[in-house]
């Protein structure tokens, strides 16, 4: 066998590595393509997301400028002031004027950022518009249930204390609205109409996360989180992800999201509403989840709101 020098072995290893890179980078060709490149943000499909992306751009360029300025100065110093014979270091304990400048300047920049960011934060969280579609989202180990209003256009009231494995949404089985509610495993929403989410968790904390919506919100057991609303800007299919470690099945706790046209949305929702309304007509309605549950006392509080 021919003897390989150390240098040739190293060069072979390096070449293998270099040739391997395109192979590794080519592997995503099997998966579906994203419109952007893999180094940037996923597509943004909500009005809220557009504001957030704008802010990300501002902070990105600010950081890019600071990064280039500080790191290039730093590297320049590292080369320029390396030890050279006969050149002693300059004796200096500092400079108070400089200290004042580099305390004040960052303070102003950071405060401006905080104020600007909080204005967007406030804007994002202003009350949901009147014409919003209200959807109740109930998360559990390890999945999602959605609840839409029935024919009456209103969601059945809930009691947060009743949410559990037997009563997924905490609704009152006696209430006629309960049987009308449309329940779904996928989140179907119309494009161009505000969607107002009521977020619930049945067991542990989960979180509602959709990268394309630029939206993250924890769902806290024992509470209704009612401040999340958004408006989709285009149709498409996405995935809802739980982004709060919630147990063994956490990594796979997802649900499909379809953003469709208003027309298609009505085509999806109305037949379901009518079906439920039909079953709600008989004298003795038997809600699927309620049959086993003991007769609940009349609920006085329709929706329990808790804040901390």
């Amino acid at each position: 066998m021919k003897y390989l020098s150390f240098r040739r072995i190293v060069s072979r290893i390096l070449w293998t590595g270099i040739l391997l890179v395109p192979v590794l980078l080519a592997s995503p060709a099997m998966a579906e393509q994203r419109s952007g490149n893999i180094y940037g943000l996923p597509p943004c499909v909500t009005t809220v997301g557009e504001q957030i992306d704008g802010l990300i751009k501002i902070i990105f360029w600010l950081c890019a400028v600071i990064f280039v300025l500080t790191q290039s100065t730093y590297v320049y110093y590292l080369i320029r002031y390396r030890r050279r014979p006969g050149v002693p270091a300059h004796y200096s304990h500092g400079n108070n004027t400089l200290e004042v400048i580099w305390t004040t300047a960052p303070t102003l920049v950071f405060l401006a950022l905080a104020i600007y960011g909080n204005r967007i934060w406030e804007n994002i969280h202003r009350p949901a518009p009147e014409n919003s579609l209200v959807v109740d989202v109930s998360s559990y180990q390890f999945g999602w249930d959605m609840r839409y209003p029935g024919v009456s256009g209103k969601l059945a009231p809930i009691d947060i204390r009743k949410i559990g494995p037997e009563n997924r949404f905490g609704t009152d089985p006696e209430n006629p609205l309960t049987a009308q509610d449309v329940v779904s495993n996928e989140l179907v929403i119309p494009v161009g109409r505000p969607v107002h989410l009521l977020l619930h968790a049945r067991d542990v904390i989960h979180s509602f996360y959709v990268p394309e919506f630029r939206l993250y919100q924890d769902c806290v057991p024992g509470r209704t989180i009612g401040w999340v609303w958004f408006q989709a800007t285009r149709t498409g299919e996405f995935q809802l992800a739980c982004n709060q470690l919630c147990g063994t099945g956490h990594y796979n706790m997802k649900a499909p999201i379809r953003v469709v046209t208003e027309e298609e949305f009505q085509k999806w929702l109305v037949p379901r509403q009518q079906k439920n309304a039909g079953t709600a007509q008989p004298v003795a309605p038997a809600a699927p989840a309620a049959s086993a549950a003991p007769k609940a006392a009349t609920l006085t509080t329709p929706v329990t709101k808790t804040t901390l």
């Binding site: 990064f67 405060l111 960011g117 919100q217 956490h250």
Partner: protein
Amino acid sequence: MSASVTADSHAAHAHHDDHGHGKPGIMHYLWNTDHKMIAMQFLVSAVFFLLIGGAMAVAMRWQLAFPGHSIPVFGHLLPSSIVNDEGAIMPSGYNVLVTMHGTILVFFVAMPLLIGVFGNFLIPLKIGAGDMAFPALNELSYWLFALSGVVMMASFWVPGGAPGTGWTAYAPLSSVAAYNQTPLGQTLWCTALFINGLSSLTGAVNYITTVITMRAPGMTMFRMPLPVWAIFLTAILLILAIPVLSAAAALIIFDLNLGTSFYRPSGAGQPLLWQHLFWFFGHPEVYILILPAMGLTSEILSVNSRKPVFGYKAMVWAMIAIGFLGFIVWGHHMYVSGMNLTLSAAFSVSTMVIAVPSAIKTFNWMGTLWRGSIHYTVPMAFAVAFVSMFVIGGLSGIFMASTPVDLFVHHTYFIVAHFHYVLFGGSMFAIFAAVYFWFPKMTGRMFNNTLGWIHFWMTFVFFNLTFFPMHNLGLGGMMRRIADPTVYDCLRQLQPLNVVCTIGAIGLGLATIPFVVNLLISLRKAPDAPANPWNSTTLEWTLSHPIQHGNFPVTPTVYHGPYEYSVPGLAKDFLPQNEKAPAHVTLEAH
């Protein structure tokens, strides 16, 4: 008082140490009240945990790059609670790795290395004291730490295995057995943190007392070297923050085992209570991990650029500001937790403000190098890299500090990239720098320079290869703490980036080999280090090896600040703290 303590303990222990005449017995290493030996105990234990916690990280990276594929060679060595029969990581096992990697690296590597090792070793030597104020309490602190490590590792072998609830252990997942399936492991985890907290508290009490009461004559507070300042302030943070974590962990133990419901909503408990308590500890903890690193780096930069620290007082005040502000920013971990939205906005302002002292420190480090005479030694290389990496970690923090941006990047790989730039690029780089810098003083031996440089370049290159692409993964929407990113359509095409991170992580794992080998082979040779190899000014370098228990044969007197380098008019380019400046030389006020 300090003078008498030094002289007495020196006399007493010199006598005591002479008994053996020859090799010290095993008990010399196991129960020893000398702060220098306690530092070594912490060092050995923490390096052991570093190898375990680091190996867990590489295992996690393997799973993320090649989900469901069995780990080559090592897969079958892992416990059956983590890997399946083929040696591939199971989702529940992945959660355990996530949890234990974080817990071990924070509580059993970074804290003991920064505080246990360098707090113990440097404080008495740098302030001219004979030992800590409470030497026996000091040793107790180490053994509490060791006990907490045993309890933590024991959780792997109890029914149900180690907890998989994250190092943040959010309730009610952590506090209800039916939800986490690992009530025993979780209880042990909480118990271990409780004991670990006692260790930190006993250590902190010692550091504070020692710094306040045992400084040598002339060692005023503003003549203290910056590592002493940093660890002193860290000790104050520990005293204020640790009890909150201990109490919160105790409540989880009660919820799990005694039927209380502090965190369970069905029993009128509040899940967010845990998050508030945890992060009230957790955010000061971030600064507990970075302040000592900042102090150590400041000194190493100054010594190796032969220049006084630029803006010494500004450095101290910046650290005090960080310590104070660190207690009013915890809510930035909770912008999207369901906390009141206006409160989020308020925490966003305080969070932006806490970036200012960090910026001040960065500018002062650059000022220290400016017009210096930079000696490129191995510790200097790590210290120089620290500043650069810390800038990246600081800048990425601005994204998360902004409330609306956090709506998108919260709990994504962007935050993973951010805190690894601060905790690895920051704290760990400073720890490596400090280990190399004080190794001659701790052991009397010089380390192997070639291995040191190999360690540096491997760490620097592979660190960035591992963690920089995580920014892109996070902005691409990849969630943290998921065992298999390929289950999401939108993440599948990011997989090449995950492969790059994993290659980096394996390289980073290999980079520890030259480090550990260097420590071992250097320890085996005869003492060869000069007393002051770096021509440094602080008091520990005035002592030659071996430093006896009691440290200073004669208590030194301190005449000026700690960093008098390149003073014009002197023959040598450094003026030790215990040497008076000659009459013809005037020292600049600092």
